[in-house]
């Protein structure tokens, strides 16, 4: 596996050396405001997130459930621009924690794929997670990312065939994102029984297609106990909606939201070390 300077590979290697899973935390940029969002993401870094995913708010987020939709809408209503998202990346990446953007494809295409890749690189970003772009439709992004050593994180799902999992993992750099439930983003009370088999199939594919590529699992984790369960079979535990919820539950009170984020991060960070 090749790792880039700002890439997430190093964070995964460090967690692996510690004998634990990495904690990957998500918030959309501009939520609740651009500055407030930067502050919130830094709180997550301080409290133990190993990798940060910054969502680029988009008008038509087909893979997101109500929680992330609400946050992204709030950011859009606040007038968030793509350049604000890049500014957020720059501020968070400056902490030394690898920072990815998670984005639907159209905003990247509109910005210009190569121009976006350069701006992300210049901001110190690690790469992109692309929930509605699969490797077979991503030649332009693959070229732009490879030219700069940016991470390319594509998704696999329980419905993916073994053939597609092999194709996808071979195209990834940084890690592969296993969406382990069939459904939109959102916290779930019980973890899915689809996750274990998906991760096992993905790891089998990685052995031949992309040796050493970590597998991060997104499955609606919202507490340390669930994180521990997922950490028992995955290299990374991805948490999104629960962080968003922590902020949504404290509207207009950023210090309280920040405290809630810190407490949640600490709980999850213990979980991945259990």
């Amino acid at each position: 596996m090749s790792t880039s300077v700002n890439g997430v590979g190093i964070a995964y290697e460090k967690a692996r050396a510690d004998g634990r899973a990495a904690l990957v935390g998500y918030l959309p940029a501009g939520f609740p405001t651009v500055e407030g969002g930067i502050d919130a993401l830094k709180a997550m870094v301080d409290a133990g997130c190993d990798v940060i995913e910054i969502g680029l708010p988009y008008s038509d987020p087909v893979m997101d459930g109500p929680t992330i939709q609400a946050a992204a809408q709030q950011a859009l209503d606040g007038g968030i621009r793509t350049t604000d998202v890049l500014r957020t990346v720059e501020a968070v990446a400056a902490t030394g924690t690898p920072t990815l953007i998670m984005t639907y494809w159209n905003p990247v295409e509109r910005f210009g794929v190569d121009r976006f890749a350069q701006a992300l690189y210049d901001a110190g970003g690690a790469g992109l997670i692309t929930p509605d772009l699969t490797p077979d439709f991503a030649p332009e992004w693959v070229e732009a990312a490879d030219a700069r050593g940016l991470d390319k994180v594509f998704l696999v799902a329980p419905s993916s065939t073994d053939e597609r999992i092999a194709m996808t993992t071979a195209a990834c750099r940084g890690f592969v994102y296993a969406t382990a439930v069939m459904g939109v983003t959102g916290a779930r009370a019980a973890t899915s029984d689809l996750a274990g088999p998906l991760v096992a199939r993905t790891k089998r594919a990685i052995e031949s297609s992309a040796p050493g590529l970590p597998v991060g699992v997104g499955i609606g984790v919202s507490n340390g106990a669930q994180a521990a369960e997922v950490a028992s079979y995955a290299d990374g535990v991805i948490v999104g909606s629960a962080f968003v919820r922590a902020l949504l539950d404290h509207p207009g009170d950023l210090p309280a939201g920040r405290r809630a984020l810190t407490a949640l991060t600490e709980d999850l960070a213990q979980g991945v070390r259990a």
């Binding site: 988009y58 008008s59 038509d60 987020p61 087909v62 893979m63 459930g65 939709q69 809408q73 859009l76 621009r81 793509t82 494809w105 159209n106 905003p107 990247v108 295409e109 509109r110 910005f111 929930p131 509605d132 772009l133 699969t134 077979d136 439709f137 030649p139 332009e140 594509f154 998704l155 696999v156 799902a157 329980p158 419905s159 993916s160 065939t161 597609r164 996808t168 969406t179 069939m182 459904g183 939109v184």
Partner: protein, 406 residues
């Protein structure tokens, strides 16, 4: 077959990396692949094709007639032929698409269908096909549209469908599609998504075309039977573009036939309140395909506007995008006011009340006929106007009897 105009195996129109494709979450790729294989097999299976054809004939009232509109012709100075899709069961061309997709659903062993709807025509058609074939049906409809089209909500409910108002985003058609996709990703093992227009990810644009292309194939035959020659021009309204592509498909390989698509110009393209995606939009990716999109500088979808809910969509089918880019078809805007005038014009000259969507095509032809005097122009009258009487009542100030006994 119009080989040069079809999508390639990856769903690209106009060459790889052009328009169309499949920009979709990995979780739905297996379902799209499964659908593509089942559809391709079905289209080669005489039993399936026979079942589809006989259902269209005996249940939907297809082939729809070709009708020469003499008084309208006198008015516009060109000879106007109307393809009467408004006379189909459920009142529009949409029934062709849903019967095809619902039959395919049965064949695939799935028990539930979901659909999005704008004006409600596709929702009503989906609910109808589901009732006929004994499938469960859930329809997503923007909350704004449920208010504009309450009568169609009632129709769907009477037909046994569950109608879910969508309150996210702009609460119109595009958000109904988002919500249907969210449902589908969680229910794909037993649910088929009956996509309502020739847009979306591959194979939907090609699949929908295969079920609606009867419009154009029939019209071509009917023109030859009637005149022994093809029309000089053909025209249809374009929202997502299923009725238009169905008509156009029959004539793409006839270069002597001019092709016009009329988009919703809303308050006028210059006001920014419109749905003229091809005429005034830019290339982007929306709902799984690269096509023309109404979007801002950052690629955020901009809300469309049209008096016609069925054309009120900020995207358009990728084959239309390719036909526009290649110059084979021309796409022009028609304002709300022009469409409403055309609705009244057709009612008063021919005794036919068109859907406001279809009235855009009439209005567009009234304009282009100024340069096509004496020529024969075929218009797809894609739907009837019963569902739009609320809008007409308000727009024209109708409904109060004011005449006096002479």
């Amino acid at each position: 077959m119009s080989q040069g105009y079809d999508a390639d195996e990856h769903g690209w129109y106009g060459g790889a990396g052009g328009f169309g494709g499949r920009f979709m979450p990995e979780a739905l790729i297996a379902a799209l692949d499964e659908l593509e294989v089942a559809w391709q097999k079905a289209m080669l299976d005489p039993t399936f094709l026979h079942e589809f054809e006989s259902l269209l004939q005996n249940y939907a009232g297809v082939p729809s007639m070709l009708y020469e509109a003499h008084r309208l012709s006198d008015h516009v100075g060109a000879r106007i032929l109307l393809k009467r899709e408004d006379l189909n069961h459920t009142g529009a061309h949409k029934i062709r698409n849903v019967l095809g997709q619902a039959l395919l659903t049965k064949r695939m062993g799935k028990t539930r269908v979901i659909a999005e709807t704008g004006a409600g025509q596709h929702g009503v058609a989906s609910a109808t096909a589901a009732a006929y074939l004994g499938l469960d049906c859930t329809v997503y409809m923007g909350e704004v549209d449920t208010e504009r089209q309450a009568l169609n909500v009632a129709r769907m409910q009477l037909l046994g469908a569950e109608v879910i108002p969508v309150r996210s985003g702009s609460r119109t058609l595009k958000d109904a599609i988002n919500e249907a996709l969210r449902d589908w990703v969680a229910s794909v093992d037993h649910t088929a998504y009956l996509f309502g227009t020739a847009a979306g990810p591959h194979p939907f644009p090609s699949l929908v075309l295969s079920f609606v292309r009867g419009i154009g194939d029939e019209a071509r035959r009917q023109c030859l039977d009637l005149d022994g020659r093809l029309p000089d021009a053909i025209a249809a309204c374009v929202g997502g573009g299923s009725n238009a592509i169905g008509l156009f498909a029959g004539f793409l390989d006839d270069p002597e036939v001019a092709i016009y698509g009329f988009e919703a110009g809303g308050d006028g393209v210059e006001t920014g309140r419109h749905a003229s995606t091809i005429h005034a939009g830019s290339v982007g990716v929306l709902h799984g395909a690269r096509t023309y999109v109404l979007q801002d500088e950052d690629g955020q979808t901009v809300e469309s506007h049209s008096i016609s809910a069925g054309l009120d969509y900020p995207g358009v089918g990728p084959q239309h995008a390719a036909l526009a880019a290649s110059g084979r078809a021309s796409y022009l805007p028609v304002t709300d006011a022009e469409a409403m005038d055309a609705m009244a014009l057709l009612a008063r000259t021919e005794g036919i009340i068109p859907a406001i969507e279809s009235a855009h095509a009439i209005a567009g032809v009234v304009k282009v006929a100024q340069e096509r005097q004496g020529e024969t122009i075929l218009i797809n009258l894609s739907g009837r106007g019963d569902k739009d009487m609320g809008t007409a009542l308000e727009y024209f100030g109708l409904g109060t009897a004011t005449g006096e006994k002479q």
